[in-house]
């Protein structure tokens, strides 16, 4: 991996062993045991021999139909999923905006407490996060609601809190699954400013989206996945 490569994937395969309901059927398991049979689990191949060298500062847009392997690829790039075959190396710190809009938020805690917890889970110290709270409160546009419990938030407010808290942490690579452009127009404009700041520090972006407009706005290179394979450009 060269100094200028941010993400290096070499012949990456991801395969799941899917066990259906009948694999957990006790009667069938016992009869299989007696008859010395085995129900083999179904093998699902999510990524097939993906090789990618993403240079630092690149802005990659991932597209493809549902089930193409986009989220799996992002999980591999974030270090959340180890490939079943091949190697994945990412240089520097990775931030991931994956899952649903309120993923990782505790509804009983306030926006402030959640923002602190998000930063700490990403490895920041409490003393590093506390001075950023004013900025997070202002940027997210939550105002005094920042100190209200998150269960009182609308889903848009939760998106704003999560995006702001995660991107308040300085990182080298940002991996996003459908997480940009989903709040109101005013916040989307502000989010773009923050992303521009991130690109300015040579940050690498990998963004998966079904929206051509979102991809065109943020990405310089488009990559299409189909059936777990990166299609040739």
């Amino acid at each position: 991996m060269s100094d200028t490569t941010a993400i290096d994937l070499e012949d990456v395969w991801v395969q799941y062993r899917l066990r259906h309901a009948h694999h957990y059927n006790l009667k069938r398991t016992v009869s299989n045991f007696i008859a010395r049979r085995r129900d083999e689990p179904e093998i699902i191949t999510a990524l097939r021999s993906v090789t990618l060298h993403v240079p630092a500062g690149a802005r990659i847009g991932l597209s493809g139909p549902n089930g193409a392997g986009k989220s799996t690829l992002l999980s591999v790039m974030s270090g959340l999923l180890k490939p079943t075959h091949g190697s994945a190396t990412v240089a520097g710190r990775v931030l991931a905006l994956l899952g649903g809009p309120n993923e990782g938020l505790d509804p009983e805690q306030t926006g402030r407490e959640n923002a602190l917890a998000i930063g700490m889970r990403l490895g920041e110290k409490l003393s590093d996060m506390e001075p950023r709270m004013d900025d997070i409160q202002e940027f997210s546009g939550l105002g005094r609601r920042f100190d209200h419990p998150v269960y009182t938030y609308s889903s848009g407010m939760q998106v704003r809190l999560r995006f702001t808290a995660i991107t308040s942490v300085r990182a080298d690579v940002l991996v996003v699954d459908e997480g940009i452009g989903v709040a109101d127009q005013e916040f989307n404009a502000r989010a773009e400013e923050r992303l521009a700041e991130f690109y300015g520090h040579s940050g690498t972006l990998v963004l998966a989206s079904h929206s051509d407009d979102v991809l065109a706005m943020h990405c310089t290179t488009e990559m299409r996945l189909s059936n777990g394979v990166v299609e040739p450009a």
């Binding site: 799941y16 062993r17 999980s75 974030s78 270090g79 959340l80 999923l81 180890k82 990775v94 931030l95 991931a96 994956l98 899952g99 993923e103 990782g104 505790d106 009983e108 805690q109 407490e113 602190l116 917890a117 700490m120 889970r121 990403l122 490895g123 110290k125 409490l126 419990p149």
Partner: protein, 245 residues
Amino acid sequence: MWWTLSLQTLRSQYRRTYLGPWWITAQQVIFVLGLSLLFGTLMGQDLKSFIPYVTIGFISFSWMTNMIQTGSTSIIANGASIQTAPGPLSLPALRTFAAATIQFGHNAIVIVLVMILFQVHLSPAIIVAPLALVVIALNGLMLALWLGPVVARYRDVGQIINSLVSVLFFFTPIFWTTNDLSKNQLAWLAGWNPIAYLLDFLRQPLLGSWPTAAIWIGVTVITVANTLGGLVHFSHTRDRLAYWL
């Protein structure tokens, strides 16, 4: 970091209640009182010594079983964050261990109060108690490290643990003593129960006596095996955890 996060989680669990984590403490006081009075009277025990015995036993036992139950489900319970937020995979085990220990910290006040109230005679053996606390905490953490992945992979194991923990209460010397069973056929039960060793390692010094040689040997064997099991199994399975969720 994980300590602060656990404290925050515990607070949020009890938000919108006045007593917060003290609710569990209150429940334990009621249970210990009921248990001590009933079994103390039934078995003709001297309540002055029996109540401290049951209090230390039950509160420590609850800490251990809390660590077993929450530790064994730590990977499943944190499945969403393991799949979506990069971070150390040991965090779920650390957090469940910390939450159980913080809760024990609240409940331990009852132990101190009962010891003062019933004028428990202290001896130099008390110096073993801090070591016993560290050893129990270490065992709880290590157990979560190996049991968390096992339960994530084999979901039936979680059900087995729940069943065992509830019956373990009766087979651990909490409201009876090992002497009560010494001439009975069931005496081997306490001998094969790891929790009984850890429990007595803490309880005996608090009640004024040094832990016996059998307790020292038992606790050493359990801790070494559990620590090796935790570290080896966790490092072997960590890369596959996300696939099991």
